[in-house]
């Protein structure tokens, strides 16, 4: 019973957050200097009638409230407007970009979660040793580096060995399947590694402190007193409990993954959603920027919701 309550509450919160983001999106772009009309009517001899006709055409003669309602309605139908840049629907552009971004970000994130948990656990278990010192220093170093700079450093290191820009080799025309896969893999390696390393530093530190906290609990002491193997203690006693805060913190870091992806995609010319944001900023392509912000926000809110529900599954106490 209470469980359903919790789930409903979290889903409700997610929906309201998306709604808040949509509203921010609407308000911010209404504050942008000029309007679609002021730009279009900058032709020589533009009359007041032309201005007015344009305003009616774009619905700018209506009240702000009506405009907002129209915006919501169009959004509900999946209409995000038309890009100023390539005159394609924003939703189409974003879909293509998102499909390109996903594999790269997923690869980097999975890498960082696996290695972050691994080294974080080791650092906590070998507390006070040189192993811990080395692990924590490495993690802190990666944690402090600006993402885009780390990417540039990797480019300097791997220049000539691995491709440093784009997603595929454009000179390969209709390559056989395996050549294509190999080509993609070689291109995805550096951007995914950059994102992975930055997140790795963060996750190692998180996992280490969460583990240290659980390793200090009484039940771990009991487990030790029982003579259980260290492996069993870490796996079934400490890590299981440490997973609760780790899940939440990883979910909260999603916003950062998004930011990191933007920077990484710029450095490596990866044609994903981050690069779309960059180009929209450069070209002042407001509809694209608006759409990209919305897509990024919705994905972060969505994964936060997933983490909340996961947390609920991991920790039965939450329903009480």
């Amino acid at each position: 019973m209470r469980g359903t309550d919790y789930v409903l509450k979290r889903v409700g919160f997610a929906i309201v957050t998306v709604f808040v983001a949509v509203t921010i999106n609407f308000v911010l772009f209404r504050l942008a200097p000029g309007s679609a009309v002021s730009n279009l009517s900058r032709v020589p001899h533009a009359t007041q009638q032309l201005r007015h006709a344009l305003e009616v055409q774009f619905g700018l003669d209506k009240s702000k409230w009506q405009q907002y309602l129209i915006y919501l309605k169009q959004l509900a139908h999946g209409n995000l407007g038309v890009s100023y840049e390539n005159e394609q629907p924003v939703s189409t552009n974003l879909r293509i970009a998102l499909i390109n971004t996903l594999p790269m970000v997923t690869l980097g994130t999975v890498f960082s979660i696996i290695f972050g948990i691994f080294t974080g656990v080791i650092a906590a278990w070998r507390r006070g040793t040189k192993t811990e010192g080395a692990t924590v220093s490495t993690a802190l170093a990666f944690y402090s580096m600006p993402t885009q700079w780390l990417g540039l450093m990797l480019i300097i290191l791997f220049a000539g060995i691995l491709p440093t820009g784009g997603m595929t080799n454009e000179f390969l025309l209709n390559p056989p399947f395996w050549t294509h896969v190999k080509d993609l893999a070689s291109h995805i390696f550096l951007p995914a590694l950059t994102l992975g390393l930055v997140l790795y530093g963060e996750y190692t530190l998180i996992v280490r402190s969460a583990m240290l906290e659980t390793l200090g609990e009484d039940y771990v002491l009991t487990a030790r007193a029982k003579g259980l193997k260290p492996r069993t203690i870490v796996r079934t006693h400490a890590l299981r409990n440490a997973m609760l805060p780790i899940t939440t913190l990883i979910a909260l870091s999603l916003g950062y993954i998004v930011a990191g992806a933007i920077l990484v995609e710029i450095v490596f010319s990866w044609p994903g959603i981050g690069r779309a944001v960059y180009e929209a900023v450069l070209e002042r392509d407001y509809p694209m920027l608006q759409g990209a912000f919305l897509v990024l926000t919705i994905s972060v809110v969505f994964f936060n919701l997933v983490a909340d529900l996961l947390y609920f599954k991991l920790d039965p106490r939450i329903s009480e």
Partner: protein, 315 residues
């Protein structure tokens, strides 16, 4: 002492407590290293106009001239001395870091204070708003606002400042909630003290150290965000910051020119600033948390870079 500089703002805090804090800090290697780096960076930035060896607007050699005795870190794409550029760059980066943090501390601190002190409906509404802003990804929102508003140093400061306050608001609120119930606050109220006086004289001094720890951690995030916005070309093109130096080197093909000296040092400096702030802020927090004095509990919850102050709430 250098560590003491973090506390001069809060003389009301009992001296014995401050002294205990300082002692804890001095015995922590990470805090000492962090403070040393921070002091060195701040000094260089402040003294840049006097100690920078060359003018940063005049060409002193060929573009991307490699390091030499006269120019230890070589020249950039415009033939300008890198050492001087880095000194001035640190200045702008720190100005953005400190000013944006100040803005977010004022917003976050007051929301946390008001929310925790008054409680009830005010608390519910303010914390709801905070929750929404917590989930919406900061950097994309910053990009949108900065893109609409146009590039300028002032805009960058405000944009970063108004989006970094959420974590602080939550941490401060939690602390105020407990301070509010203490006996001396109740006594002051019984003696007829107004809300303003109670908050300023009795509550604020109690949460000040926590606010300072949060400030140091937020500076790291603000400096990082500045490099990100600069990298997207959203900062003032005429103000050279460390982020701008990285962007310039990237845009103007320092890598294909083999000019590592134009691109490695600015990133190292940013990393050092972020590292130093994380170390000092973390040590301050540890020192403030009595629970962490117990040896086996002395784990510190590391903070996520874009989510300063959220981790404790999340746990």
């Amino acid at each position: 002492m250098s560590e003491a500089s973090f506390f001069v703002e809060s003389p009301e805090v009992g001296t014995s407590r401050t002294r205990a804090l300082l002692r804890t800090l001095r015995h922590r290697r990470s805090a000492v290293i962090g403070t040393t780096i921070l002091v060195a960076v701040i000094l260089t930035a402040v003294l840049a106009p006097w100690i920078a060896p060359y003018d940063i607007h005049t060409q002193v050699g060929a573009p991307f001239e490699p390091p030499s005795w006269n120019h230890p870190l070589g020249l950039d794409d415009g033939g300008i001395d890198m050492v001087s550029l880095l000194m001035w760059g640190m200045r702008i980066s720190l100005v953005v870091g400190f000013a944006a943090t100040f803005v977010s501390m004022v917003i976050g601190g007051s929301i946390g204070l008001v929310s925790g002190y008054f409680g009830g409906k005010t608390d519910t509404i303010l914390m709801r708003i905070t929750d929404y802003f917590l989930v919406i990804p900061d950097v994309p929102l910053m990009i949108v606002v900065a893109a609409i508003w146009g590039p300028s140093l002032f805009h960058i400061i405000i944009v970063i400042g108004i989006l970094l306050w959420t974590g602080t608001a939550r941490v401060i609120r939690a602390q105020v909630l407990s301070v509010r119930e203490r006996v001396y606050v109740k006594r002051a109220r019984a003696l007829g003290a107004g809300h303003f006086r109670i908050v300023m004289r009795h509550v604020l001094p109690q949460v000040a150290p926590l606010l300072i720890a949060n400030t140091v951690l937020t500076i790291a995030v603000a400096v990082f965000d500045e490099t990100a916005l600069s990298f997207l070309g959203l900062s003032d093109p005429s103000r050279i910051s460390l982020g701008k130096l990285i962007e310039n080197a990237f845009e103007r093909a320092a890598i294909s020119a083999g000019a590592w000296w134009a691109i490695v040092p600015p990133g190292v400096l940013v990393a050092l600033i972020i590292l130093a702030c994380s170390l000092v802020g973390g040590a301050l927090e540890d020192a403030l948390n009595p629970r962490l004095r117990v040896a086996h509990l002395s784990a510190r919850t590391f903070r996520l870079r874009p989510l300063v102050g959220r981790s404790k709430e999340a746990l």
